[in-house]
Amino acid sequence: MTDNNALFEYLLRLGDNSLILGQRLAEWCGHAPILEEELALTNIGLDLVGQSRLLLTYAAEVEGAGRDEDMLAFHRDTQAWRNLLLLEQPNGDFAKTIARQFFFDNFQYLQFEGLCQSKDDRLAAIAAKSLKEITYHLRHSTNWVLRLGDGTTESHEKMQIAIDELWGFLPEMFDMDEIDTQLLAEGVGVDLAALKPRWDEVVNAVLLEATLERPEDTWSVRGSREGKHSEHLGYLLAEMQFLQRAYPDAKW
């Protein structure tokens, strides 16, 4: 694999994470439990879609095959996607959406903090811009974990269930494969495995304050970096890509 291929793949992972989670948040439109939260979720979704545009545009340029952000977003089938399994999981109830967001925000914050130091200037600039957004996302999801965890009995239960249901999707975030290792060696990428202790520290502290239990590590699933996804992604893509697929010659 040439450097360009590795960098393309690396950018795809970052961009796909942002896009798929942004798409999931878009599904909340008009259905959030509070109007203020409607605005917050849309705002976060908008940030994520914005990140994905920067990352996928860059990825397409690196690839140099004439594709652009929309070709990458709307003309790849399930197995060509590189987003974390966590992010394609259905919204579920508000607790599950918050749990997914909280786990990812914490991860993405550390990841992008590291990427700010990337030797790849453009990636570093994207990371720096995004980090400001993520700082807000993280505050938002943390606040909700606290409110729901330490709110009512009902909200506590729902939050605990959400955390349990998503727990096994989390180890995948910290996996390092060849591409990660290569880009880390080149000073472009981040040591994901090394983020785990800091991630644990913050998550443990918040769960404790929220009176929630950290689940045991009884199961874990992985595969997204090889395009092995859960069955949910196919439906998400069928919906997201419909217009571009149905009218391939059109410009919008």
Binding site: H31, T42, R147, S155
Partner: protein, 323 residues
């Protein structure tokens, strides 16, 4: 005045005269000012309906958010829908200055007592509908709202100023979607024309009944809640929109539409008020769904709001304990 009020208290009649004088002098009425109860109720009805329309109006466009045809369009639409939510929030707050709570307003919406703009009872069937809503529905809304910027009630007028700016941005975006499609493939052009066909008449209906059938309008005009009549505003909208359609090379679905050189305005066909009433009454394709979406979001979100409240109360107690 020849009535001497020894308690230094004004009678209602006196207050109402002073109120009308103030309105006539183009002075703004503010929340703490005395106002006639019917003025208050009229504003509550109109402003809460306006707020509800912003919120319900997120649904037909939201219907295409997950299917937007490019990432840029997705981002722009998301930002637009967020703006609408913001408008709703702003309008609810402005309405609350009249002494009604947001919860009461929600309850009125969910029980069917309060209305929202009936145009949102039509479905969005293609992506062109998102363009048409921006162009026509937001366009009609702006025409109304520009007039409302000079409304006698201060908080409403100020809300309108703020909202108008964003809405005109939305309208340009909608028009740009229509332009892209009108200049696109044959299928896109067809979608654009079809969207115009379906949204044109409902947009004209947004201005309300003809002046001759609008009994409440006179009072609203006198109170300067309304500054221009329904038909005047509708005419303004038609005159502004016809050249835009022409530029898109799309046909407005009205055989009677013609420029009247004498009036320096467009003549246009009769609105089908039977259809209008039919949709208001509940026979639009989406009446039940729009309301259900709102009710489900609200009822389904109760546990979340309860949790937020419980947590806030615990935090307060902890702060007290710590002190």
């Amino acid at each position: 005045m020849d009535v001497v009020n020894t308690d230094n208290e004004w009678t209602d009649e006196e207050l109402e005269i002073a109120f009308q004088n103030k309105v006539d002098a183009e002075q703004r009425i503010e929340p703490k000012d005395w106002m006639p109860d019917r003025y208050r109720q009229t504003l509550i009805r109109q402003m809460s309906q306006h707020a509800h329309s912003e919120i319900v109006g997120m649904l037909p466009e939201g219907n295409w958010l997950t299917r937007a045809p490019s990432l840029k369009r997705k981002a722009v639409l998301m930002a637009k829908i967020q703006d609408e939510g913001g408008h709703g929030l702003y309008l609810y707050s402005a309405t609350e200055t009249l002494g009604i709570s947001r919860d009461e307003m929600y309850e009125q919406l969910h029980s069917g007592k309060a209305k929202y703009s009936s145009i949102f009872n039509y479905p969005t069937l293609t992506w062109a509908d998102v363009g048409a809503i921006g162009w026509l529905v937001d366009g009609a809304a702006i025409t109304n709202q520009i007039a409302l910027c000079r409304c006698s009630y201060g908080p409403y007028a100020r809300a309108m100023v703020k909202i108008c700016k964003e809405e005109s941005f939305h309208q340009r975006q909608g028009y740009e979607i229509m332009m892209t499609m009108a200049q696109g493939t044959a299928e896109q052009r067809e979608m654009a024309q079809d969207a115009l066909n379906r949204w044109w008449w409902p947009s004209l209906m947004m201005f309300g009944p003809n002046d001759t059938n609008s009994p409440q309008s006179a009072q609203s005009m006198k109170w300067k809640i309304k500054r221009q009549s329904n038909d005047e505003l509708r005419q303004k909208f038609v005159d502004a929109t016809v050249p835009q359609a022409k530029f898109l090379n799309l046909r407005i679905p009205d055989d009677d539409l013609v420029w009247n050189e004498e009036r320096k305005a467009h003549d246009f066909g009769e609105i089908d008020w039977v259809e209008f009433k039919n949709v208001v009454k509940g026979n639009g394709l989406c009446n039940r769904e729009r309301l259900k979406a709102r009710v489900d979001a609200h009822d389904g979100g109760k546990w979340v709001r309860d949790a937020a409240l419980a947590y806030a109360n615990k935090q307060k107690l902890r702060a007290v304990d710590a002190a």
